[in-house]
Amino acid sequence: MKHMTGLLFFLALLWWVLSGYTKPLLISLGIVSVLFVAFVAHRMDVVDEESHPLHLSLKLIRYWLYLLGQIVISNVKMVLIILSPRPDINPRIITVRTAQRSELGKVVLGNSVTLTPGTVTLQVEGDMIEVHALNDDSAKDVEQGTFDQRVPASIEEKS
């Protein structure tokens, strides 16, 4: 029920932001469409903890700030590599064990690794993730598991 309320609120906000209408007729049409989408989502059985991780919103924001910093750092590194006359690249595929137990935790970790330039998640199998790293530097980051420790722990507890 909590997730349904969250979904309805989110959809209503999205509808209003995208349309910006205030006329009663149009707003009622918007309410109808929000209810319809919520009904379809309920039928598809996707309204749950996984699609609406309400319980970790605050911690997620802190994680996002950290991720943003990492993205900026590795972007600068990538720009230097691309612009150098002889690119210092030594690509390899590494396999690391992740501490994440839940599906959501693995998804967050995999996406974060892909989002930072220099490393791309190739496959997640069990608790092993396969990462393609561009050079020694970026490979080291993943091997040390800095992201792994930073992914909010509350993802673990709930699911």
Binding site: N75, I82, P117, G118, T119, V120, L134
Partner: protein, 113 residues
């Protein structure tokens, strides 16, 4: 020209530089897997700078919220698309380029193992 305009111009300029650098990377790098990393630059920070610069142009309007939505959406979908591509390439047995191949004078561009 006030301070917001200047800040916006700086952000847009940085975004433009990152975009072009990413495109150069996509042309320079030796194989598909390394090119993925180059396209990662343009997907993340370049988009972020452009959206930030445009938000300053639009000011506190509904348009800025829409820009933020676009940015969030791209931040979620770009790694997913990259991952789908990488997984498909692995499934298609595309062999990754390594330093050793280059030293041996081999160009295994597009080689399938």
């Amino acid at each position: 020209m006030d301070i917001l305009q200047i800040l916006s111009a700086v952000l847009l300029g940085l975004g433009a530089i990152l975009g072009v650098v990413g495109a150069i990377g996509i042309l320079r790098f030796p194989d598909f897997y390394t090119r993925m990393h180059a396209s990662g630059i343009t997907d993340t920070l370049c988009t972020g700078f452009f959206i930030g610069g445009l938000m300053l142009q639009f000011g506190m309007t509904l348009a800025s919220v829409k820009l933020l939505l676009i940015f969030m959406f791209m931040l979620f979908t770009c790694p997913t698309a990259t991952h789908a591509l990488a997984k498909a390439a692995r499934h298609g047995k595309l062999k990754p380029w390594t330093r050793a191949d280059a030293d041996a004078g081999l160009s295994n561009e597009g080689r399938v193992s």
